[in-house]
Symmetry: D2
Subunit: 391 residues, 4 copies
């Protein structure tokens, strides 16, 4: 076994315990069972505003203690890493405070609700890095084994010169106009709609897979159902939907490849369909999150008569992240993107190496989303995206 037994502990404190909190908890509970780790994650405490609910969550999700004030969580001696699973509007305040308190930070995506917040967070992360604290943003889909393999193949040059990235993320839960006005449909809480929720993922994936940044976008957004019943209102009372239901945008990567994007909560029958396809001069890759254990690869250097998209079942021992799992063909579920994220972050902390995606990566995604919104407001005119100076 490569690491001393027992490995030193890494105290984790988590803020928020809803969907993402449950998913992150699963990652922390599982990571040491699947992988040999240089540090042993200890689930020290979880934080939420309502005492009885956070205590029940701690019990259910496996946290040793519960806090009701995130400042108290950050202050705990047994917490070295703060894992932020709250809605986007609180990310900046918590993350900056945690970094300034000398803690490592894992922050759920989107990094923030505004570019300004994301810039402040990124500055804080850079400052903290000099002090030895690490910050990472939780674009978990980078760690679907099939997408990690896709990144590998592209980085190895197997696709040649990239020509197209084509990504869509389609859901359908808002398709029924009778669905009430949930907080996710209100801008003051959610920041944006399908764009921030789904678009953030595919923008990150497009930039990560290609290894390039988007330099500009043209966009349209739409709110199909403009008023909805109030969740707790009287019969007949309605409120305005203030976020987008769908967005279509396209742009160019730094190399000149074309990138197209589409997100929607109104694509009936598409439950969680994140699709991405990359076409290059020497090959193509295609992925669908609804079949997450598969990657399709077309090797364009083979003879035409033998060519075709090949369905690689990404469950072999030498596929990314698979050394911790089951024999070939025994597929993994969605949740282990969080287990893999935890693994990589634990290694980065043990080795004092910068984990990816960085806050700067998260900021860059926010800049894309902001440019999308700006373009959509300006008749879709091409809107440049500020690209960071090379380090």
């Amino acid at each position: 076994m490569p690491y001393s037994t027992p490995a030193p502990p890494l105290g984790v404190g988590m803020v928020g315990y809803a969907f993402m909190g449950a998913a992150h908890s699963q990652g922390w509970r599982t990571v040491g069972r699947a992988y040999d780790l240089p540090l042993t994650p200890v689930m020290a405490a979880v934080c939420g505003r309502d005492r009885s609910r956070v205590e029940a969550a701690a019990d259910r999700l496996g946290w040793a203690a519960a806090e009701t004030d995130w400042r108290a969580l950050i202050a705990r001696d047994d917490v070295s890493l703060v894992d932020i699973c709250t809605p986007g509007d609180s990310h900046a305040e918590i993350a900056i405070a945690a970094l300034e308190a000398g803690k490592h930070v894992l922050c759920e995506k989107p990094l923030a609700n505004t570019v300004e917040e994301a810039e402040a967070m990124t500055a804080a992360a850079i400052a903290a890095r000099r002090r030895g604290q690490l910050a990472m943003v939780g674009f978990n889909y980078r760690r679907v084994p099939a997408l990690a393999l896709a990144r590998q193949l592209i980085a190895e040059g197997r696709l040649g010169t990239l020509r197209h990235v084509r990504a869509s993320y389609l859901q359908d839960w808002a398709a029924d106009p009778a669905m009430p006005l949930a907080w996710r449909l209100r801008k003051e809480k959610a920041g944006s709609g399908a764009l921030g929720d789904l678009g953030a993922h595919i923008v990150d994936i497009a930039q990560h897979l290609s290894g390039e940044l988007l330099v500009g976008v043209s966009a349209q957004t739409e709110t199909f159902v403009k008023e909805r019943p109030l969740p707790e209102g009287e019969a007949g009372q309605v409120g305005a939907v203030t976020v987008d239901d769908a967005a279509v945008f396209s742009g160019r990567l730094a190399s000149g490849a074309l990138a197209s994007f589409e997100v929607s909560r109104f694509a009936a029958g598409r439950k969680n369909q994140l699709r991405v396809e990359v076409n290059g001069s020497d090959g193509s890759l295609a992925f669908d999150l609804e079949r997450l254990n598969e990657l399709e690869f077309h090797d364009n250097t083979l003879p035409d008569a033998e060519g075709g998209f090949r369905r690689i079942l990404v469950t072999e021992a030498d596929h990314p992240y698979l050394e911790g799992w089951w024999p070939p063909g025994h597929g993994l579920g969605y949740e282990h993107t969080f287990t893999h994220q935890a693994r990589d972050l634990v290694h980065a902390i043990a080795e004092n190496a910068q984990p990816e995606p960085t806050f700067a990566d998260g900021l860059q995604v926010q800049r894309v989303l902001a440019a999308v919104e700006e373009s959509a407001e300006k008749n879709a005119v091409h809107t440049p995206i500020p690209v960071p100076a090379p380090e």
Copy 2:
């Protein structure tokens, strides 16, 4: 048998005998074998500039005579219908002359290379209609049985309120930069590149399936390989590629539904992949030309626990156009889109009914393509599309 035997003849003369000419000839040869028709198509003559080649083509494709001047073809007494299969730059002249000579016209897509030509053709068609001549443009994919079924389901309201049309048409034959500069890559001959060739099809399909017109678009186009070897030049000589290799555009339908489009000749591994998906409040449809006998249908009115995209094999006797073919499950090929087109045109002529798609439909597609090009030149800004006044 519903029609008198033998049905009266319908003399057909075709101009052009390359890929499209071969496909149309197949349609004319086959249509009377598969369907009972009110008129019997007679393949009177085919026209091309080179006598020996057009005579060989006549022999091979089944035309009784060969002409080297399209004016002579139009003038023949035994030709009542002129079928135009030449490149787009000659469509207007031939079609208008044929209509003015009192002939029916079937014109390959795109209707013309410019909006101006398409407008003149449409005016000629309207004038000819009053005299009893009919004009039709050859968007053959409307007559893939699966897409005809899709149109039926949408027209019956099975998808409810439409929210999204998402269409792409991807090929890869230009992906190799060493491929020579064919005429299809030169604007003066081809008018445009992937946009006119592939984009015309998916714009027509999107408007046809939805029953709505696009009211504006935002677009980017790209020429990835800007110079190519001259086909007959000396080693090392190159020429400029003057058409687009790919285009991405999006817009809104009259009802407010979002429509997104992508075409490319650089999508390695995609040979002829025309995909279209339509999402509505009550259901969704998806189609892929590489599996042309299948239509996927999600009925959103079923209980969630039973929902899912259903693969309808569109080979049942009561599916569109299938009454002329084989038992269930015995799939059809690409070529019979032309057989079905011939069938519907023969019926329209016999009944003096306007066949679809009309020249006005073809003109409207040209307007969309022109708006795409205009938007692409103006930083993707949203560009409105003139919509015809209701009749």
Copy 3:
């Protein structure tokens, strides 16, 4: 053009004009349009018992004349090739008479309804071969381009040592017990049920792809619905179904590979699903007739991390039979198996070369089917299949 123009004629006479007659006629009409041929097929005459119906069929299907006596058809001077599309019970008599009259013969599958008839036909074919007449049996699926490519890859050794052939052919048209007792469900007319109709195809495909013969089988057959309404009887009158509705059998190829087979007319939702998969030490192939333009190929010699079934779209110019057709990605339909069959037979006749599948191949399939029936009657006990002595 490789052949003299015009190529000498090859007079064809066809017996029977139902489903198979229509499909063969399509092949004869089309073959010279798609391919350069050394002989020009001339559709001289079609034969059926009812004069008015056979004349209508001649007109519809493109035959120059009609006969009501197959002996008269055979006797015609303008008929050099007799194409037999009748039910199996008349194959032997017609084929033997035609061969003895000095004609070439194409005979629909199954070769005959009994092994004895098939033996007599094979003997007649061998005798005729010495006189210069050729005989071929119409297992058309060998000429689906994807299956022809599969055969090529196996013959080249790309699959290594074969281990498994797994074939099924599923339909569902008999699933409804209320369907009347058609002639195809009566042994005296049809010989057998799903076994002879569907099983013959997959036995031939298994032997053809593998290049090996089955040496024995174990089998079960079943008639699920034992009585059905008489088609023209009074309400309530029923008759016995005397053929199998389904069969399951397995055996070994000469090399020791395992072969498994299943056929049914009761597989609800499977319209015409002929599936075959071959597994070898170096690779595997999979095919589904409902997606007939595709072949799936797993190359087991690639690294595990890159392995996977590759969907080859069998529409490239260098794929079998594709030189006569459309550009890549423009799929073919079921019917062109008959066009390809016609092509190969015309070449064989012009070159006086034995076309395949031979009558001996058809006989061998009959022996397998007979062994299946024998095994099914004897509690599934393994039943050897007589294998012809090597020539």
Copy 4:
């Protein structure tokens, strides 16, 4: 929350910690995080022969203590449920001892290596049931949500009268003849080869989905590679493979439906492909373990023109087992079949209700496998399977 907090503990002791032990441990660790349970599983102790290795496993897998003698494990006061994850040859002894010691038992499949052992275990389970102990066999695939949904649909009568069950389980890890002679290829250790390992699963699934027992089988088995290198022998030393590499068998269910089965470790490219299809008069179902979150359902009662296999993504909140998991479209992995198994067993124990599959179910599978082996030895002759008298 429906249960008192905290729920009373249920002490679990596990024997064996290899692949299955790791999978079961995952289930025990996770079940209380995903579901509200009436008892709280406590992972008391794990047992293995090698002290240092079992202690490392306890640490890695989450067990509080380690034992090196399974009798000691059984004797522990803090163990109420014994979970047996050893190879099949030790199942009977451990299970019977545990039941006689008053413990509940969960036993991995196959229940035993012989029918005799399975009978003794079943008798012990029946006796224990009267004393309040429960026994369950671990056919985990019953608890893939898609297969649980399949069972529901069949039990509700949605498929009408069953006609066919068609199951295969294909892997390829033994395809390379150079692979050494592992213990799984030796009869004295493994009992049988692909038959017991893979065949047991699909026989159970066939009987479970249909709700019927197999009444007889006809079978062939094959060992393709008869000698292999000894794992620790000198170069060139080989030993005999004494188990089957593949098996093909078929039979009838009690109702007369046909059932066909195929298993192999030589199907190149098929990593873990358990496929099952059921055809009935009113519909069909199809499943593939390599896409375990999907169930295909053809509703044969819909109009033909709308029919087709529907891909149900089995991730909706009202699908079986999904109430504990993620939002729609967020797929589960293989491992949660064990989580679901643990959930159902905990409920059964709390309610003193018989969990399924019972030892009698496991015995019946053994009887089928024994009949397969007997038939294979007797030239595939149909071999009846003793069916238990109705209770």
